[in-house]
């Protein structure tokens, strides 16, 4: 320690002129606001920006220059023997000189920052959230990193030994490992985990460079070639150990199954309610979320690719619930492979296909899961899923927008799309013969204003189109025949419509006093029933959990919120309410069976079981049994 301090003091004294340079720069920066053209800006801002930029640039530049010369020059000129002829250890030589240089660089930064510190004080490195670690680390760590890297490269270049090949190979392997560690986090969109891995990699690089440099000097001593060999061996061994540790840690962060879930989100539910697409995090795994296609007995699961946007829906199911198809993982706009699984098998496995689709492509599966239709860039391609054989590719007319397709049967697709004529928008209803590839128009809804969305019922008999008039906030919903496009009637309730199993429509709307009006009406004929539920801000009507019984999340009193929301089963005929449970976080994040590129979607023939899944206060997925009224734990939840 004594020797380290002695060397450090000597090195600082030898380069003390740098401090004068820093003082000169600080004085110049203080007078900068008085220069012509700059005087129009706020003086404090000018000093802060100039100080910050100059300090960081100067710090990094000094670190680079000194890193390349402090040891390199002495080794080349045979001057390092001065230290090694004294009773000081090699590590003391390394530590003393590096710490001296870094102390000088940091002092130079502080001096240059003085004009800004005088005005801003500690606020320079703090934000509203506390210490601004990124800025602080930039001033402290960036110069150290530059110094160590410049030193390592300087030794490599000056020595010119065959160890250069290890360095090059090491750099390539490290770059590969860095990408392998970062890519999964980018795919998942786990920002905290990504920053932890990035930070770990920077720390690993610093440690490896420090150990390499120290060992190079301690073992190689005055012999440049041996310094290089010792540096390379120590640096890459350390890097390998650190990378292995980071890779193991990164792998552990990502490697957990549904049974380890704490918070669960369910994105899709198979039409028969047997399988769900669940996303969840696990204890200690930072913000990493895994996605699984999971049987609701929680004993079987198939891993799904993670998504940057974890709310994105991945899986599409066949109507019989036996087949699921999904896009594989990828970063950004990379094309993805399609994957599928036969959920009817006792032990379903994820199976890759050779089909590649763009991230924005839509796809739908036939009722029996045998065929797959992909809608991408104006073309509908139909495949035999098992054989991956292209049955037909149909180029759609270019003026179609918001296209949505659904299988009527294995040989016919129904197509709904918007097209514009002058200022008016229309909905085209057509059928595609998968054998001939012919597109036959069967109906049209003409002369609409701006279409917000359209939705088609499971039987493909009726559809609701939501439109908005120009300049008006309120949107209107109308019911149409889903084959001919003929108007059935306008719906005078603004809420999101749902079709019941028996074909009736449920419409809801919230009034200003917080009460909810729930209207049940047949498609045609009489029999309209209107219920007014008491004031319950935030109440929502969900799906049909038992015949003619819809789930209502019923928040009577906002003060109940910490206790969770209360769910009730609402009989649409009698208006009776039956308590499902309290202390619940809500229903599953169920999304309709979306197959269109934009806002067209379909209701499939979901069984009531689909709407019996809820998320409880602990974040667990639970299933409600209407017979017994019990909540059965499926997966997840904070233990």
């Amino acid at each position: 320690m004594k020797a380290t301090m002695a060397i450090m003091a000597r090195e600082v004294m030898a380069r003390r002129e740098l401090l004068l340079l820093a003082v000169a720069l600080a004085i110049m920066i203080s007078f900068l606001p008085f220069l012509p053209n700059i005087e129009t800006y706020e003086a404090t801002d000018v000093r802060t920006v100039a100080s910050g930029a100059t300090a960081l640039t100067l710090g990094c530049l000094l670190a680079l220059v000194l890193g390349a010369t402090v040891f390199g020059n002495d080794l080349s000129e045979g001057r390092l023997g001065f230290f090694f002829s004294r009773p000081v250890s090699g590590l003391a030589v390394w530590c003393g000189r590096v710490l001296a240089v870094m102390a000088l660089v940091w002092i130079v930064e502080v001096i240059v920052l003085t004009p800004a510190l005088y005005h801003e004080g500690i606020r320079l490195v703090t934000s509203s959230d506390g210490v601004d670690w990124l800025t602080l680390l930039a001033y402290l760590i960036a110069p150290l990193l530059f110094f160590l890297m410049a030193h390592a490269v300087s030794i490599i270049v000056r020595a010119g030994t065959h160890w250069l090949f290890l360095d090059l190979g090491g750099a390539i392997v490290v770059a590969l490992f860095v990408w392998l560690n970062l890519r999964p986090m980018l795919e998942i969109g786990a920002v905290i985990a990504l920053w932890v891995i990035v930070g770990s990699l920077i720390a690993a690089l610093l440690i490896a460079l420090w150990v390499g440099g120290a060992m190079g000097i301690a073992i190689g001593r005055v012999d440049l070639r041996r310094v290089h060999s010792a540096q390379s061996l120590a640096m890459w061994s350390t890097m390998a150990i650190c990378l292995a540790a980071i890779t193991v840690y990164g792998g552990w962060l990502r490697d957990f199954g549904p049974r380890e879930f704490n918070d669960v989100d369910v994105m899709t539910v198979a039409p028969d309610g047997g399988w769900v697409e669940a996303v969840g995090g696990a204890k200690g795994r930072l913000d990493v979320k895994r996605r699984y296609l999971m049987s609701t007995d929680a004993k079987r699961w198939v891993p799904l690719p993670a998504r940057w946007e974890f709310l994105e829906v991945v899986a599409a199911y066949s109507l019989d619930g036996s087949t699921a198809v999904w896009r594989g993982g990828g970063v950004g706009e990379e094309p993805r492979y399609l994957w599928w699984a036969n959920l009817g098998r006792p032990d379903p496995m994820a199976r890759p296909t050779s089909l590649i689709v763009a991230p924005e492509a839509a796809f739908t599966v036939s009722a029996d899961g045998a065929r797959l239709a992909i809608l991408e860039e104006g073309t509908v391609s139909i495949y035999e899923l098992g054989e991956e054989r292209l049955v037909k590719a149909i180029r759609l007319p270019e003026d179609l927008q918001r296209v949505a397709v659904v299988f009527i049967d294995s040989n016919t697709l129904r197509l709904f799309a918007r097209f514009d004529v002058d200022d008016a928008q229309s909905v085209l209803i057509a059928e595609i013969d998968t054998a001939t590839g012919e597109l036959a128009r069967i109906g049209m809804i003409p002369g609409l204003e701006e279409i917000s969305w359209f939705a088609v019922d499971a039987a493909l008999e009726h559809m609701v189109v939501s439109t908005r008039s120009e300049g008006e906030l309120r949107s209107e919903r109308s019911l149409y025949d889903a084959k001919s496009g003929a108007l059935v009637r306008n719906l005078d309730v603004a809420g999101f419509p749902r079709f019941l199993q028996d074909g009736r429509l449920v419409l809801t709307s919230e009034k200003d006093d917080g009460s909810i009006t729930l209207v049940v009406e047949p498609i045609e004929g009489e029999g309209r029933i209107v219920h007014t539920m008491r004031a319950a801000h935030g109440s929502t009507v969900h799906g049909e959990a038992v015949p003619n019984g819809v789930v209502v999340s019923h928040l009577v009193d906002p003060s109940d919120r910490p206790q969770g929301i209360r769910l009730a089963l609402f009989d649409v005929d009698t208006g009776e309410m039956r308590n499902i449970g309290s202390h619940l976080r809500g229903t599953v994040r169920w999304f309709p069976w979306q197959t269109g590129n934009d806002m067209g979607f379909f209701w499939h023939r979901d069984k009531p079981a689909v709407f019996r899944f809820f998320i409880d206060q602990s974040g667990a997925l639970v299933r409600w049994d209407p017979e017994t009224g019990e909540m059965m734990h499926v997966v997840g939840g904070k233990k």
């Binding site: 004594k2 020797a3 301090m5 002695a6 060397i7 003091a9 000597r10 004294m13 030898a14 045979g78 001057r79 390092l80 023997g81 001065f82 090694f84 002829s85 004294r86 009773p87 000081v88 250890s89 073992i219 001593r221 005055v222 012999d223 041996r226």
Partner: protein, 306 residues
């Protein structure tokens, strides 16, 4: 149990790739006295010194200074060792004063007064940067640094390089006068054979990485002689050659009316045998200077002996 030698090299071998710079070198330098390691350029002297000072790891073998392994225990070993390198390596931006401050903090037996007295007596400016000193002053400063730490061993790697004759003489006088009195051991390498002849107690000669000679200088000089005899036609050359074998002939020559031979194992007994067997008229026996011995040993290809 004998006294631990100050310097001990045991099977020292240094290789650079396929080149063997030092080959299985073993020697011991006892306490006190001056050991001179001689050799031509590239003979392995610098590698030997670097290994001895623990600055370079030998390919095989061991080096010890004052009983410490100089690679593994370099820091301990260097506590009582002064070093004057071939090229003075004091940081060029340092002044004599600033170097002293550093040395005082890292050298356990540092004597500032000794250091400053020496600089003053030699007229080395204390406030001038090392890079601006003359070559002679740089060497004097290096020597002052080496001696002010109360060393028990001083290692000088070609210390007279670049010094004029007066400075060389002065340096050697100091070494003999000051260090010998203190019982400090001196290990030096040099090409200044004339100068070192006056002060060396023991000499080692390296050639092609191998140690040809390691013995006290007076013994070496007694062994190496030039025998001169009158040229004759009556004695067959074979008889003369046979006689010279008793003296270990390593070279033959002829001048006007005389013949001569350089021998490496001169002894009274051998000389008598030579005279009896060769029956020649020996005119005189000249002792060789160290330089002549060195040329006789290293004058030709690696392996020596012309």
């Amino acid at each position: 149990m004998g006294v631990e030698p100050v310097v001990k090299l045991d099977g020292l071998t240094v290789r650079y790739g396929k080149l063997t710079a030092v080959d299985d070198l073993s020697l011991e330098v006892p306490k006190g006295g001056v050991f001179a390691l001689l050799g031509r350029n590239g003979s392995g002297k610098s590698s030997t010194v670097r290994c001895l000072l623990g600055q370079q790891r030998p390919t095989s073998g061991r080096t010890r200074i004052l009983g410490f392994d100089s690679w593994k225990k370099r820091r301990r070993a260097m506590e009582r060792v002064g070093v004057v390198p071939e090229n003075p390596d004091v940081p060029p931006d340092s002044t004599a004063d600033r170097v002293e401050k550093f040395m005082a903090r890292v050298t356990p037996f540092w004597r500032s007064a000794n250091y400053f007295d020496r600089l003053e007596s030699l007229g080395v400016p204390r406030k001038q940067r090392f890079a601006r000193l003359s070559k002679g002053q740089q060497r004097q400063l290096a020597l002052a640094l080496a001696l002010a730490g109360s060393p028990r061993l001083v290692v000088l790697d070609d210390p007279t390089l670049g010094l004029d004759a007066v400075a060389r003489r002065k340096l050697y006088e100091e070494l003999v006068g000051e260090l010998a009195d203190r019982g400090t051991t001196v290990f030096l390498t040099t090409h200044d054979l004339t100068g070192v002849e006056a002060i060396a107690d023991q000499v080692g000669v390296l050639h092609g990485g191998s140690l040809l000679v390691d013995e006290p200088l007076d013994v070496l000089k007694a062994r190496y002689c030039r025998v001169i005899w009158a040229a004759t036609d009556t004695v067959p050359r074979e008889r003369i050659d046979a006689g010279l074998q008793h003296l270990g002939v390593i070279g033959r020559g002829a001048a006007k009316g005389t013949n001569e031979a350089v021998v490496e194992n001169f002894s009274e007994f051998g000389f008598d045998r030579f005279r009896q067997e060769a029956s020649v008229d020996v005119l005189r026996v000249d002792s060789l200077s160290l330089e002549e011995i060195f040329i006789a040993l290293c004058g030709a290809e690696p392996g020596g002996r012309s």
